[in-house]
């Protein structure tokens, strides 16, 4: 039996989340002596397959290249995975919006449970996962023949890229186009900054900034200096300061950078769930009693409208 990892990609390139997922797969594979295969479902995605073939520890890349995989709709991708599931003891995907969308369909069609958002692997059938917004960690054991798992990428290091190394690349026959869901459009945030989920430094803003204009005027220069990704609390997103994909928290993005700077964020438990595994947390808030200070390594009680420009200027 082998382990199948579903590649995260945009047809043009492989996303880093795939590398973290391969590391989780390798931890299982080492205990079972199992090979790791990567499945790429896309359209004109040869570059993705080539990149996947260079991931350390990957033995085989299986590619389904067809027009109806271009948008990676859950219905079509799940049907493809199902058609190729034989011979796999484990099917893994990163717990990204794509993985979370698709993998439960695969689990249901295989009549097995899914284990969501895994942060630790104790045995090939035993996994650790956060529940209650990360306020508890559950260790669960699966009795199913196939383990369908989504992986919290911040909990596993990225697998190395072996330039020149190349796993076998095999073309798969596409499954039929189900034709029940169609992509009408995408409004993706364009940014030259590092990806929020993988950035080494994250500068995050909350309601304390008061407006979208303030958010951009104060935090962008700071993020530029630190080569940081920008994040936000739910309150800042709900208030329309920034788009939804900036949200860090229980139901938004989970981040664990080297440095997380929380500006004008009070620190609701739902927000803490998304950033408390950061290595160093800095909080800047004028309210000395804000809960964010209970998890901050360095807390600065100050007016952010003075402190942030001062910090930016001094870096």
């Amino acid at each position: 039996m082998s382990i199948l990892v579903i590649a995260e990609h945009d047809n043009a390139g492989l996303k880093a989340a795939t590398l973290n997922t391969v590391t989780a797969a390798a931890q299982i594979g080492a205990q079972l002596g199992a090979e790791i295969h990567v499945l790429v479902a896309g359209s004109a995605c040869a570059a993705v397959a080539a990149a996947a073939a260079q991931i350390e520890g990957v033995a085989r890349v299986r590619v389904a290249d067809a027009a109806h995989y271009a948008d990676q709709t859950a219905e079509n991708v799940a049907a493809l995975i199902l058609a190729n599931a034989a011979g796999y003891s484990h099917i893994l995907a990163p717990a990204t919006s794509h993985g979370k969308n698709t993998l439960p369909r695969v689990a249901a069609l295989l009549d097995v449970a899914q284990i969501s958002d895994v942060v630790g692997i104790e045995a090939p059938d035993t996994f650790v996962r956060p529940i209650y917004a990360g306020n508890a960690l559950a260790t669960v054991q699966s009795a199913d023949a196939v383990k369908v798992v989504t992986v919290r990428t911040t909990a596993f290091a990225a697998a190395a890229i072996n330039v020149g190394g190349s796993a076998a690349v095999e073309n798969l026959t596409a499954a039929a186009d189900l034709g029940v869901a169609r992509l009408v459009g995408r409004e993706l945030t364009q940014s030259a900054r590092p990806e929020l989920g993988a950035a080494k430094v994250v500068v995050s803003g909350g309601r304390g900034l008061g407006s979208g204009a303030n958010y951009h005027a104060l935090l962008e220069p700071l993020a530029d200096k630190l080569n940081a990704a920008l994040g936000a609390s739910r309150a800042a997103v709900d208030a329309g300061f920034v788009p939804n994909d900036y949200q860090v928290g229980q139901t938004g993005k989970i981040v664990a950078p080297q440095l997380y700077i929380a500006v004008g964020i009070s620190g609701a438990i739902q927000h803490l769930a998304g950033m408390k595994d950061s290595r160093v947390i800095v909080a800047i808030n004028k309210d000395a009693d804000a809960p964010i200070f209970q998890v901050a390594d360095y807390g600065l009680v100050a007016d952010l409208f003075q402190a942030v420009p001062e910090l930016t200027a001094a870096l």
Binding site: Q114, I131, A133, G197, P243, F293
Partner: protein, 250 residues
């Protein structure tokens, strides 16, 4: 068009949960319970579709303990027309719930199922997708906008890179994200009216569904605690600490 809205009874989102001393689970004794916030958004959306004349009936469903009736009454106070409780004391995992809902869909024949994208207790984010797969229906998860017209649902979804809009052929499953709507507060007259609305009870046995759990919880522990660090007096001291103590900036 009929809409089915599954709702889950969970620990209220304001409660700071405690792990049991024997690591067997979360201590739920005397803890305030409420409707899963994402499901409340789902009920609101279904009721709005009815108010807009698009839906003809909104049926709320819950699976679990007898106490889930309170959650169903809340859904009816928001505006659901009637409710179904699938009553069981058994531990229900997402696959089992999806199978119960599948059986109810076969009975009720809705054109749309709207439910929360995840429950804030197990944070699984699975039930809607599993239900759609079991039914062979299309799905739109993490919805921030839903438009239903002419046998199609056009749904804007919150995805990692921003927003994406899908067009689905009905019948379909939609799971809700935070910004889809702001649920109304149930008024006292509506709470009173909800008490008189019909609430049917079934069991997993009635629906012919095996709900046996597939996952065994071996232990539940608290995550490593993060302790509050130091307060710094000013920006200069903050930079000094980050540079020379934490060594995270140059």
């Amino acid at each position: 068009m009929k809409i089915l809205v599954p709702v889950k009874r969970v620990v209220d989102y304001n409660v700071k949960v405690r792990v049991k001393a024997d690591a067997s689970g979360i201590d739920l004794a005397n803890v305030k319970m409420a409707m899963n916030p994402f499901d409340e958004i789902a009920v609101e959306e279904a009721v709005r579709l009815k108010e807009a004349g698009i839906a003809s009936e909104v049926v709320a469903v819950s699976c679990g303990l007898a106490a889930c009736q309170e959650t169903l009454r809340t859904a009816m106070a928001i505006g659901a027309d009637r409710a179904i409780l699938v009553e069981t004391d058994a531990e229900l995992q997402p696959l089992a719930v999806a199978k119960l809902l599948q059986a109810l869909v076969v009975r009720e024949q809705p054109q749309l199922v709207v439910l929360g994208k995840q429950a804030i207790d197990d944070d699984a984010n699975q039930t809607g997708q599993m239900l759609a797969a079991l039914l062979g229906w299309p799905q739109a998860t993490f919805a921030s906008k839903v438009v239903v017209a002419e046998g199609m649902a056009t749904v804007t979804r919150e995805v990692d890179g921003g927003l994406e809009t899908l067009e689905l052929k009905l019948p379909a499953v939609v799971t809700t994200d935070l910004r889809l709507n702001e649920p109304r507060y149930a008024t006292l007259p509506n709470i009173m009216k909800a008490k008189k609305k019909p609430l049917d009870k079934l069991t997993p046995f009635d629906l012919g569904v095996d709900v046996a759990p597939r996952l065994t919880t071996l232990k539940v522990v608290e995550p490593p605690k993060r302790t509050a660090g130091a307060r710094v007096a000013d920006v200069a001291q903050l930079i000094d600490k980050l540079r020379n103590e934490a060594k995270v900036i140059q």
